[in-house]
Subunit: 223 residues, 2 copies
């Protein structure tokens, strides 16, 4: 078997597992969101911020992948977000079978909005469907304006791009119009939200967008 064959087999097995997960999520009326970004772009902080925003209105939970440590899940739980940590032990992305196993172990109860926080990596996670309904790519203003065209895979696949750390714009070189244009070129019609978990800017807008998707998801499940 060649390397290419082996990779195709892995991706085919993943697609089968992802399809079964997707069916299950649709039936349950759970909106599932896959978050992908570089390390340190603010995925965990954003989820903690959203957990506080939705407290008492939507039931949230998160499955979070990391090479090592339970740090992210610990931070989420401290913010009131039920969280299950997948420690991949070196693997650079989550795959659908890891999610299946995590769901068998996690005790979340009924969930309206389930997040998969992927391993911090703009490359490999883009290739693994996790059965999600909605893919979000995050890009922080500190990472530089050249990133969308340098990582076209994830920026063309993501339904929503979230620009994070927007409060740091005065302190970093970041050509915002250029970034917006590159993202729109890679994903025409895709949505873009600018947020800061520090100041709260854009969080309401992002929350409204997610709540609307959750509503749509419930109607599909009941329809």
């Amino acid at each position: 078997m060649t390397t290419v064959d082996a990779r195709q087999q892995i991706l085919a097995a993943n697609a089968t597992a992802a399809a079964s997960l997707r069916e299950r999520f649709v039936r349950a009326g759970t909106l599932v969101v896959n978050l992908i970004s570089s390390p340190g772009s603010g995925k965990t902080t954003l989820l903690c911020t959203l957990a506080k925003h939705f407290a008492g209105s939507l039931r949230l939970a998160a499955i979070v992948g990391d090479i090592a440590t339970e740090r992210d899940a610990d931070r989420m739980r401290a913010a009131g977000l039920p969280a299950h940590q997948i420690v991949t032990g070196g693997c650079c992305h989550l795959d659908a079978r890891m999610v299946e196993k995590a769901l068998a172990q996690a005790v979340f109860g009924d969930v309206d909005l389930l997040f998969f926080e992927n391993v911090g990596n703009l490359v490999c996670p883009a290739n693994y469907d996790l059965g999600e309904a909605f893919k979000i790519v995050l890009l922080s203003t500190t990472e530089g304006a050249d990133k969308p065209f340098k990582y076209p895979g994830i920026f063309s696949k993501a339904d929503l791009a979230v620009l994070t750390k927007i409060d740091l714009l005065p302190h970093v070189p970041f050509d915002l119009p250029a970034v917006l244009e590159e993202i729109r070129t890679l994903r025409p019609g895709g949505r873009i939200v600018q947020v800061s978990s520090t100041t709260g800017a854009g969080i309401d807008e992002l929350a409204r967008l997610l709540a609307a998707e959750v509503g749509q998801c419930k109607r599909t499940a009941n329809g």
Copy 2:
């Protein structure tokens, strides 16, 4: 063949190619440095800064890997750094065979200090030896203080950790003592330098360290 077997074969083939590259670099008296970090931590900017610092004293060149675009090599050339771009077309790391091919194409002449700027990714590049003498991991202050223990592979392998964007410390939450302690735990005796390409802080210290390594490399080649 299982996936594990396929992976082991790939790494074994890489090790063979890397060993042959290393022999060649040692014979030539060229110090070869492999730079690994998240996207946007400042690898390219740092290399452009070092190119200006060493102008007229050391002969530098760079081979830079990206999923897509020639952007990084273009920036380097504009800063006077001879550069060859490897476009990996989706692959999330450089490997030794890509470097072999790049060296056959690049026209650098004699070089004292050759940088491999790896694909922006803290995970996979850590596993591929490129025949370098010296591995550097970069971590920017904007990425958060939790990263070393979350990415122990690269932080335990790197000979030098460079903390970048140190000028942004007043604007971001970053527990510097905690980061230094985690890095020292993962790589006892490894060196750490704090730099800012914006203000120039730490660049002299880093340049002195690299120049000393170049000197050692020349003595080994001549000895």
